[in-house]
Symmetry: C2
Subunit: 444 residues, 2 copies
């Protein structure tokens, strides 16, 4: 397959017998995952999702997306965490970080309900002004504070501007199959609904309706995305880590963590990857950051940040390893032209494409960072397209699950996320949290 | 002043005598800085810049910005590292991360020459199509690969579309006062030029013409920005760290690093701060990440990333401390309205503003993270405006210099950035790098 992991540049950092020592742990994790005997096994729906997904629902998603593309100037996607990062990452990767400025056809897409910023929500409202607006609200329960507030505000805005009946045609709800306040509201108002599966956690949900509706609305081919994931599902079943790049990635990061590399720095050489790194941070940070364990996931875009964090990676505290992401050919190539004056001294590059130069920048960087003591794993993606991205998403999801089991955590829960919520509810006077409030206020 | 640092939430992590123990180190660093006796003292121009800057040049910058605002649909800012991050961060902070979509008057602003991505540069070219375009190229030497390539491409585009003479009126160059290929080209072609000061490094240069021209072109008040910095210059001269928040910040991060907190996580509660964190990462990462030392700077936006990295911060590996950034009142407030059905269960928030709720989220988070073992420094900015931002920029710059001296590094050099460049030049066959090439190619 056209997604592959190279460990060539960590040879000096991991000895051959270290790989062999990881195989029993990989095999055990593989078993836990495939036999459903590990912690969190209620949340393994993603593992066979590319085979199991509801074809009828995906057809409805495509129809809804086509309707949105035909009738809306703006789509506001309301969600937080896994109900936000995946869709945005895929759209920016496949289309562009400048999607809204560059798009030819299809709606502008804005994301709301992913913070408590009044200004951010006000800006989205301002951008809706005078335009035909659709909403896609994504929340399993309907009661998560951030998206629930944004939906209350945006729904009121839409009903005020186009009336309740027309608003009902423009609101698309992705929520629980049968329970929850958002499902009840959708049924009452007649909103079209899509299902957040019970057995797939938020951070594993990008290939479910959670991600698929906004992605399809941006004009991406969700069938190809799912087909790529199905291909990965088939290809990545081999427990032998020397034959399975996904498990090799899981093993490498566990080895490096155990050597004191506490931070994994994802370094992509294309700006379109930036939000994919954010998606990856949630996937890995939330899956592994528990019980006092886990690699801290961070990210950079090179060569941009070689002129920023590059100094630290080259010569700072030795606590990092890098995972470089290389993408296949540019969609629109640029070749450096010769210049009669050569005032900028660039004529030695004349006739070379930017992509060739970028590749040399990567090679130069990997070697320089190795010399500085920072090892680099290299993940190559041959083409920027739906199919390879679907493969890659599944690759990261499966590697994360196996890596988490090797680390000795439940890769599918997130108990720590409740901490701030409970405190916030108590401080806001939410009924049921009275006991906690006084004790907290004393500490402020 | 309306920018202040609170150490209330690290009481359990730093004992009183630890602060006292830092005072002699702070005093020594303060002396090194103000007496010019520390390493890198050729690059202290920023220290008195708010008093020293050339008023005539700032007047020319305002005139050029007014001309750009009057005559251009698009301004492309070409630069990398310190010639990129500061301007973009200030514009997104003062205006919006969605500046291009929301702006009323003034040009769209795009940043180019900060990567080697063919697609990113192609997209900027596509966005220029059919529009009146101005360029601001920012490079001290004119030979830095990334901006030099972008400028070669964009200048050719501009000359092709409007002719060489008109292009010369639309190109603004920020470069060395007298030397270098870019200065020579500008003089030959008659481009208006602004000066990159000799004694201010890239990451300290946002308040020089490097940052000021794009910032002014976005409609921001650069006089107020400089006035805020001047206020900070006066206010932050006190060596007693109990009376100087800037030095307290420098001391706190050194204490926490020495306790094994190797990562500083900047956590802002407003999305408009996101690029300021990137600017801060360069400032601190490049100043301190050397000789195997330094805090690794990372960033999140909360509450967004409480649904992502929040789990890690709450309960993962104990290697972080947080620096929370709180911003004053929203520019456009939103109040939660009551809802007859209360299907989303949010009526307990009715009548509250989003900013109030956001503040409770912050308080709840700080206490939860403290319970989880992660201390938080709190930096408060009373108002989102030029003056306070100017103060804050100077605050961070001075704290960084003092922090670097306390760490025992030269906060003003960046020898590690050369590593990848030399390798890249060798691999690209640049004249003068032949010796290196064969050895590198063998390792690939």
């Amino acid at each position: 397959m056209a997604v592959s992991l190279s460990v060539d540049y960590i040879k000096d950092f991991i000895r051959p017998h270290e790989w062999a020592a990881m195989q029993p742990l990989v095999t055990a994790a593989h078993r836990q995952l495939h036999d459903g005997t590990g912690a969190g096994s209620d949340f393994l729906g993603w593992l066979t999702w590319p085979a199991d997904y509801d074809r009828e629902e995906v057809a409805r998603i495509k129809a809804a997306a086509a309707r949105i593309r035909d009738t809306a100037d703006v789509l506001v996607v309301i969600g937080i965490g896994g109900s936000y990062l995946g869709a945005r990452a895929v759209i920016e990767f496949l289309r562009s970080p400048l999607y809204n400025s560059l798009r030819a056809g299809g709606p502008e897409i804005y994301f709301a309900g992913n913070s408590l910023s009044a200004d951010a929500l006000s800006e989205v409202l301002a951008l809706c002004e005078g335009k035909r607006v659709c909403l896609n609200v994504i929340s399993k329960s309907g009661t998560t504070t951030e998206p629930a507030i944004a939906f209350r505000v945006l729904r009121a805005y839409l009903e005020k501007t186009v009336g309740r009946e027309e608003a009902a045609r423009r609101i698309f709800v992705t929520t629980d199959r049968s329970r929850g306040t958002l499902k009840q509201l959708a049924d009452r108002e007649g909103y079209e609904t899509f299902v957040v599966p019970d057995n797939i956690g938020g951070r594993y949900s990008v290939l479910t309706p959670v991600g698929l509706l906004p992605i399809a609305a941006a004009g991406c081919d969700i069938d190809a995305l799912l087909a790529g994931a199905a291909q990965a599902m088939q290809a990545l079943q081999e427990p032998d880590l020397t034959k399975n790049d996904c498990y090799r990635y899981a093993a490498a990061r566990n080895i490096l963590l155990r050597k004191g590399r506490a931070v994994e720095l994802m370094a992509a050489y294309e700006p379109r990857w930036a939000m994919m790194s954010e998606w990856w941070k949630q996937l890995y940070g939330e899956s592994e950051g528990k019980d006092g364990k886990g690699l801290f996931p961070a990210s950079v875009i090179f060569s941009t940040d070689l002129h920023s964090l590059g100094q630290f990676v080259q010569d700072g505290t030795n606590l990092l390893f890098e995972t470089a992401v290389l993408l296949g050919p540019a969609q629109r190539e640029i070749t450096v032209a010769p210049d009669a004056d050569n005032g900028d001294g660039l004529n030695f590059l004349a006739g070379k494409t930017l992509s060739e130069i970028n590749r040399k920048a990567f090679q130069g960087t990997v070697l320089a960072h190795a010399d500085g003591g920072t090892p680099t794993l290299v993940l190559s993606v041959d083409r920027v397209c739906e199919q390879e991205l679907g493969y890659l998403i599944y690759f990261f999801e499966k590697a994360c699950a196996v890596s988490g089991y090797m680390l000795g955590v439940n890769p599918f829960d997130q108990p720590g996320v409740e901490g701030y919520k409970k405190n916030m509810f108590a401080l806001l006077g939410k009924p049921g949290y009275e006991d906690r409030r006084a004790a907290l206020e004393q500490r402020l």
